[in-house]
Symmetry: C2
Subunit: 164 residues, 2 copies
DNA sequence: GAATTATATGTTACATCATTACGAAATTTG
DNA sequence: CAAATTTCGTAATGATGTAACATATAATTC
C-alpha cells in the first residue's frame, strides 16, 4: 500500500508557491461575485496561508498589522465567514480553528486528518467515504447537507517519533 | 432500501425506559473502576437522559437543582469529562454540546446525524465507514485515534415538512 | 477505629471563542 | 452626482471552557 505522505507538506517544500497560488485562487474566486478582495480580507487570508496549521480567529487577529486601527475578532470573523461560503477556508470544528483550503477546484466536500501532536492538518477529498456517508444517511432517511469528518490522531512524522 | 427511521426516536416512544436503562447502564459502568455515581454526576446524567437533544454544559447546569450550593459549569464539565472517558456521553464538536450515549455496548466508535432544524441527534456505529476512515488514513501514513463524524442535515421528519 | 491516601466537591476568577448593534466610510449603480 | 450596496470601525456583550486552591468525603492501610 503506497503511502501518500505528501498530504502533510514536507518541511522543505516550496511554500512561496503555496502562497502565490493561494492568492491567485482567492482573487479569482472573489471576482464576478460582487465581492472585493479588500485589504482586510487579504490580511486574513495571508495569515492563514503563512502556515499549514489551523489558527483561531484571535490568533489571526493578533498576527495582522492593523496599521493604527483597532482591528479585532469581528473583522476576522467577517472575512472568515465570507471565505467559508466561497470554499476558500475551512473551519475545523474540533479545534475551533480555521485553515486555508488546499485545493484549487470548486466547491467540494472535504475530510481532515488532524495531528494531535504537531497540530498540522491535512485535507482530503475521498469519494468512497462520501458515498458511504450518503448510504448511511439514506438508511436513516436523513438528508445530508454538510458532513463534518475530522480524524484525530498522529501524522506520519509524529507517529514515527512516538515509536522511538 | 428500507428506511431505519427508528434511529430518531418516535415522539410517542417509551422514554421512561430510555431513562431507566440509561441509569442502569451508567451505574454498571461506574462500578469496579474506583468511580462513584455521585449525586452531582447523577444530576448531570439525568438531565442528559431527559431528552434526545444535545445540551451545552451551561444548559445542563441551568436545569440542575443545586439545592442551595452555587453549582455551575465547573461541576458539569467534571462530570461530562468522566462520562466521556467511560463512553457514556458523547460530545458533538460542531455544536459544543453533549448527549447521552444511546448504545449499551462497551467502548465503540460512533457517527452522528445532526438535524439542523429540530436539533435532534441520532447515533450510529457503521463499520464500513470506520474501515473507510482507516483506509483513508492509512494511505497518508496517519495513525487514527478518534474519528469525529458529524453529518449535518435534515432528519426524516424535518425533511418531510420542508417539502410541504 | 485512627491515620493515610485517593477521590470528589465548592468557589472564585479567568481564558477563550463568537456575535450583536450601529453608525460611518467606500464602492458600485443608475 | 444621487441612491443603493457593500464594507468597515468600534464598543459592548454573550457563550463556552479551565485553572487554582481549599475543603470535604470515601476507601484503604495499619
Amino acid at each position: 500500500m503506497a503511502s501518500d505522505r505528501a498530504l502533510f507538506p514536507e518541511p522543505g517544500h516550496d511554500h512561496g508557491s503555496c502562497i502565490a497560488l493561494g492568492f491567485e485562487h482567492a482573487e479569482a474566486a472573489c471576482d464576478g461575485r460582487r465581492v472585493r478582495f479588500t485589504p482586510n480580507r487579504r490580511a486574513v487570508f495571508e495569515v492563514l496561508l503563512s502556515d499549514h496549521k489551523p489558527l483561531s480567529a484571535y490568533e489571526i487577529a493578533e498576527r495582522i498589522d492593523w496599521r493604527g486601527r483597532k482591528g479585532g475578532p469581528v473583522q476576522v470573523y467577517r472575512a472568515l465567514e465570507l471565505f467559508e461560503t466561497l470554499g476558500l477556508v475551512h473551519r475545523i470544528e474540533s479545534l475551533n480553528a480555521y485553515i486555508a483550503c488546499s485545493r484549487q477546484d470548486a466547491s467540494h466536500g472535504a475530510q481532515f486528518l488532524v495531528c494531535k501532536h504537531c497540530n498540522r492538518v491535512a485535507e482530503t477529498c475521498d469519494s468512497r467515504l462520501e458515498k458511504d456517508i450518503q448510504r448511511l444517511a439514506g438508511q436513516a432517511g436523513f438528508q445530508v447537507h454538510a458532513p463534518v469528518v475530522e480524524i484525530k490522531g498522529l501524522c506520519p512524522d509524529c507517529a514515527a517519533n512516538a515509536n522511538e
